[in-house]
Symmetry: C2
DNA sequence: GGAATAGTGTCTCTAAGACATTATTTG
DNA sequence: CAAATAATGTCTTAGAGACACTATTCC
């Protein structure tokens, strides 16, 4: 953090420096220009033994974004890259604790994934994973990817288009390959979904 | 924080020093002995201007407890006392920002209240406001107090007793003044309510 | 008996889950 | 036409909201 920075400002700056993603303020919808990432504070990790070298207190943040520009080398993280979360969250069959992430970062990542899974149930935040204009099918694939389940396309369509303020039709349609064109939507003003979209029980 | 303390440990120690409340680990049910407070991290506040005197980053915690022992003077907070949240969250009709709490503490308190209101929807955490054994009516009054609404006693009874793992009858009954004795329950093992108990829309 | 509180039952309506069908494009 | 994807419709059932009634205590 710099001397004149808020926590969220510092997180947005670091995110931009290492990934090129520009974050917009939470609560506001994604900007028209696209590439705007939703950024929110996740939690603070301060166990005195989490980094054996020295006492470090980390304020973790979670970003949701539709597009992933090539990460920029340099800055704090020379080896920044994108990877699926499963790469780092697989249960180690041996049971030992040597995962691919340092310190408690696997726990932080798991907390972030759970936050995302939980938040898209009760909010319209899944649209943060979509470009400014998107189809119902694209939004459904966001839910399916985040939750790791398959959803019924017909019930999903009925649910999201029936929730007031969730989706606003732009009038446009997609040109696709081998299929009926889909209506385009953008995120509506609603931030809280009522009733929520509960993930199916396992 | 002390050099060997986790964030939660330090918060629990400060809470005990100033209020006498003993916190138990989150995830675990309240201890039999009673007086155990649920404690969880709320969020971290680090705006460089939040305290004009110096740069302070505060990790706020939220505690839920059934009993409120007399706060102990001494320690950091000489004037510790219990008060209803409304005392500090009333909207100032004048519109100026001079509330009774210092710095951004009104915002932190508002965030904590919203966290509590939201969490008792999807979890069995409302039992943290109850003593080890309690009645359905007591649990209902917790919901009514936290949400600030009136709930239908009959629908509430049906809902909470019908949710598996939420309540476990102890067999005992209360002795009351002028009314049918109520069954006593303790918190069951379930932590997540499915389906959730959604607060009524306003 | 009357007041007070606890607990059960019934009806209605919303919404989710399962599933069939129609619509519109490309090749 | 076949294949692919989008969109709408129907039926069933779980569960929330509204409301009436019965049960058990103290006064």
């Amino acid at each position: 953090m710099r001397a004149d920075e808020d926590l969220a400002t510092a997180a947005a700056r670091e995110l931009a420096e290492e990934t090129g993603l520009r974050a917009h303020d939470p609560g506001e919808p994604a900007p028209e220009s696209g590439n705007g990432a939703h950024l929110e504070q996740l939690g603070t990790y301060g166990d005195p033994k989490r980094d054996p070298r020295m006492r470090v207190v980390s304020v973790a943040h979670l970003a949701l974004a539709p597009d992933l520009p090539a990460p920029k080398a340099g800055g704090d993280a020379n080896s920044a890259r994108w990877a699926p979360v499963e790469t780092f969250l697989e249960q180690d069959p041996e049971g030992d604790q040597t995962g691919p992430l340092a310190f408690d970062h696997a726990q932080i990542l798991a907390d972030g994934v759970e936050r995302a899974r939980s938040k898209i149930e009760y909010s319209s935040l899944a649209t943060a994973f979509c470009p400014p204009e998107f189809t119902v099918g694209e939004l459904r694939r966001v839910y399916e990817a985040v939750w790791g389940v398959a959803l019924d396309p017909r019930n999903f369509h009925r649910k999201v288009t029936g929730t007031p303020g969730f989706l606003v039709p732009t009038g446009g349609t997609t040109t696709r390959q081998g299929g009926r064109p889909a209506q385009l939507f953008r995120a509506g003003g609603a931030t809280l979904l009522n009733p929520p979209m509960l993930r199916p029980e396992v």
